[in-house]
């Protein structure tokens, strides 16, 4: 089993502020500033307060790589208009199991004009992969410099766990690379790759995720736990150490026990790859 770093260096923070609200967000902000991360990905920032928080963190700690991941269906045109694009940040636009209607293309066009150097994440299921291909084509025709990342959607029933359906979907997506020779497109499953690197002893885990409810996890696909991040009782380094000691090895071992699926067998039975 690979070891751990003494503190997290890659941080992911879902800023959706589900149940805890903005006041508690300020506590998390202060705790994030206690760390010395190399990379931070802010997920789902929407309003002025969220972007002010990101800006304050940028002023307090030196982070070499800062990323912002926005959900296309969560962000409004008004919020897009107010976006102050920071050229030192990388921007990701997420399409999470979607049903894209024609009216949404104007919002998408507006966003593509606002952020030229954009990365697009598409979560696919057996139901939306044809639409995903069409979406990617449309975006690529608007801006051929965009990078596309395709992930399996594991949050809902997804019949791409079945190998023939999965292969069919992959072929459809790969056909994009034949039509558009220079398209930057990757298809992968993070969980599967982490599973593959776990036995390699030179890797170290230094990832830390803060969820929208203020719970914490090592990776976004592992279970999250309540460790008092949104209270003033514990420092973020203590929380990191506690989650590692109490859950690190056991949670990562569970991945090793899973069969090797591109899509985890979370919904129904799948064929083995």
């Amino acid at each position: 089993m690979a070891g751990y770093l003494k503190e997290p260096v890659v941080l992911q923070w879902d800023m959706k502020t589900g149940s805890y609200g903005k006041i508690v967000q300020h506590i998390i902000e202060k705790k994030v500033c206690e760390l010395d991360p190399i990379k931070i990905r802010y997920i789902n920032p929407k309003d002025v307060d969220d972007f002010s928080t990101i800006d304050r963190i940028k002023k307090q700690i030196l982070v070499q790589c800062s990323q912002i991941e926005m959900d296309f269906f969560e962000i409004t045109e008004e919020q897009i208009e107010k976006l102050n694009i920071d050229q030192t940040f990388q921007y990701f636009l997420k399409f999470d199991s979607f049903n894209l209607e024609i009216s949404m293309y104007s919002k998408l066009k507006f966003l593509l004009q606002k952020i030229e150097d954009l990365n697009v994440i598409v979560y696919i299921t057996d139901k939306n992969f044809y639409q995903s291909v069409e979406l990617i084509k449309w975006i690529y025709n608007e801006n051929s410099n965009i990078s596309f990342y395709i992930y399996p959607d594991k949050k809902k029933e997804n019949f791409l766990v079945h190998v023939p359906k999965l292969h069919n979907a992959i072929l459809e997506i790969i056909s994009l690379c034949k039509v558009y020779k220079n398209i930057k497109l990757s298809i992968y499953d993070k969980e599967k790759i982490i599973k593959d690197i776990l036995p390699l002893n030179y890797y170290r885990h230094g990832n830390f995720c803060i969820t929208e409810t203020g719970t914490v996890a090592l990776y976004d696909f592992l279970p999250d736990y309540e460790y008092g991040l949104i209270t003033t009782d514990k420092t973020i380094k203590e929380i990191w150490r506690d989650i590692l000691i109490e859950h690190g090895d056991s949670d990562l071992c569970k991945i090793l026990e899973e069969q090797r699926y591109w899509f985890k067998k979370r919904n129904g039975n799948g064929d083995q790859l």
């Binding site: 260096v9 890659v10 990379k39 170290r204 885990h205 230094g206």
Partner: protein, 73 residues
């Protein structure tokens, strides 16, 4: 035979600690200072002759296996 630094990983330096991080997956390999500067040299030069790389063979294997370095004939 020459090697080049792929775009899959990025080199990072923080408080005298050195890392390679897979840019998409955020998987982390801490590395030593000498290796950091050697990889940085490959990035600056664009490529390097494999015989000019002064590191242990098993480290080179890890760099190639993880596609941190690619090979050009």
């Amino acid at each position: 035979m020459k090697v080049f630094f792929t775009e899959i990983f990025a080199l990072y330096k923080k408080n005298k600690k050195f890392f390679l991080i897979n840019k998409k997956l955020d998987t982390i390999i801490p590395i030593e200072e000498t290796l950091y500067f050697m990889l940085n040299q490959i990035i600056l030069n664009g490529e390097m002759d494999i015989n000019a790389i002064r590191i242990r063979a098993d480290t080179l294997d890890i760099l190639l296996y993880n596609r941190i370095l690619g090979v050009k004939n």
